[in-house]
Structures are given as structure tokens and as C-alpha cells.
Symmetry: C2
């Protein structure tokens, strides 16, 4: 099943099939090196009345990037989970004037290992992530998000 | 020009023309009684992989509702402004299991009058709003947002 893939391109294709708004946003490329995840998107389908990036599109793609990182990280560990966002704080720092990228990395501390321990012990855990949206090298939006993962009953684990 | 209308249906039509993602979200109805604004949307185009409301769609529509309230409120006072969101805090409280509504009201205090004063004095002001998303009577998401309005150079004022 493509939804269980860890291949970034197949995962993006599955996202666009399952979440119609992500197809409308014309998400272009998703990359994941095991620590950092990036999603690129064009401006045109995500534009607002002022010709810059629509705040709702930016919020959507940033929210999705953190969700995708959490999902793929757990899947790399053999854990198939439902991941949801619990809360987020967004700062709109500069207008997006062109095609843009959402970028998010696993925390530098041991939070991601703690998440794995909690998943094994309780089947549930959380991860706090900072997502950034960049356009032409400029930081345009930051999202501090708290994501909650729940292990699926049919997940076998690593 | 339809973009200067205060008629809610014409304003929604203009939004969907200007912001393609709002057409993809199939926003249905926008109402505004001078204090409270509501926007309704169907679940189907805003669904996620779990069959519930996609967090990005909910964030988008909540963000848009506060922007629309600020824009229409100022327009009712004869002020044509560019309105942007500066930051927001979102809490995802319950899954959205059906068609849903975003709801936002002007603050009960004198913040909206203060905004008008600042617009007249400085051509710039801000408004803090709390947007709620409800589904089947249940509060599913809250957004605390800070919106900034900048008077357009060609705006004549009230």
C-alpha cells in the first residue's frame, strides 16, 4: 500500500490523493533525509488578493510539513501511526513573493527518541516542531507546532 | 468594483476569484451582521487521510474568517484597507466530522473603535480576534489571531 511507503515521492502522491486541498495547492516536491523534510510549492495556486502568498495556504503547508515529518520519522522506525496537530503558533514575518518551501527538522535534543519510547510504552506520544517557510532565501513564516501520534492497532512496530 | 462591496455574497464571490485556494475549499456562504461573520464549508473538499477535516483547511478558513471580518468592518466605515494576519495561535480541540462553520465577532470592548481611531490617525492599526470552527454544534478549533490593517493610499475614508 502506497500509504505505508517511506519513499518521499510516493508519500507525496498519496497525500495529494487523500487530502484534496494539497492537490489544489499543487505541492511539487517532498524530500526527507531522515532528519529534515522539505516541501516545495508554487505561488500561483496559493496566491491572495494582493498577489502574495495566501496566509491560509502558508498555514496549511507549514502544518502539513510537520505532520509529514512526524509520520515519516515514525514510519522509518516501523511504527504506523495516526498523527494529528494539537496546537500551533504561527508568525507571519514577510510576504511570500514567489515559489516557496516549507522546511522542518527533527529537534536537536532527544525529543524524537523520547517520542519513540512513549510510542512503545503507551502507544501515544507528542513532538514539538518548528516549521519555517522560506521564499528566495527569506524566512516568511514560522510555525511552532505540537503534534500528537497514536499508534495504530494494526501496527507491528520495529 | 466587486472588491469594494459590503454585500456578503458578492464579497465571497470576489474572495473565491482572488484566492484560488478558497475556491478549492468550496466556501459556501458568508454572512455578516455588522458584528459577527460566519463562513460555511463542506467537509468533502477539506478532508484529510482519516476522513475528518484537514488541519490545514481548518487553519485556512479560520485565518480567512478573521481577515474577512476586519476587511468588511473597515469597509462598512468607508475605509478600504489591506489587511494581513501577523500571528495566530490555533488549538485543535476535536475532529471535524461533517460540514462546518467558522465564526468570529468583533471584540465586546472598545478595540474595534480604537482600530478606527488608529486608522484615521496613523493609517495603520491592529485587531485581535478569536475565531471558532464549529461542527454539529461542537467547538473543534479556536484561533487567536492578530490582524494588521493598512489604509490604502487611494482610500477616501468615511
Amino acid at each position: 500500500m502506497s500509504q505505508l511507503t517511506t519513499d518521499p515521492a510516493a508519500f507525496l502522491q498519496w497525500i495529494k490523493q487523500q487530502i484534496p486541498l494539497t492537490a489544489a495547492m499543487q505541492l511539487q516536491q517532498l524530500t526527507f533525509d531522515g532528519r529534515q523534510l522539505r516541501i516545495t510549492a508554487p505561488l500561483a495556486p496559493n496566491v491572495n488578493d494582493k498577489g502574495t502568498g495566501f496566509g491560509g495556504s502558508l498555514a496549511s503547508i507549514a502544518t502539513l510539513a510537520g505532520w509529514a515529518l512526524t509520520t515519516l520519522y515514525l514510519r522509518h522506525q516501523g511504527l504506523e501511526c495516526d498523527v494529528v496537530i494539537a496546537d500551533s503558533h504561527l508568525r507571519y514575518l514577510a510576504p511570500v513573493n514567489g515559489d516557496f518551501e516549507a522546511r522542518v527538522s527533527l529537534p536537536l535534543g532527544d525529543e524524537s527518541e523520547q517520542l519513540l519510547q512513549r510510542m512503545q510504552q503507551r502507544g501515544r506520544g507528542r513532538l514539538e516542531l518548528q516549521v519555517e517557510i522560506l521564499c528566495n532565501g527569506e524566512l516568511c513564516l514560522s510555525l511552532d507546532g505540537r503534534y500528537v501520534a497514536m499508534r495504530r492497532a494494526d501496527s507491528q512496530g520495529a
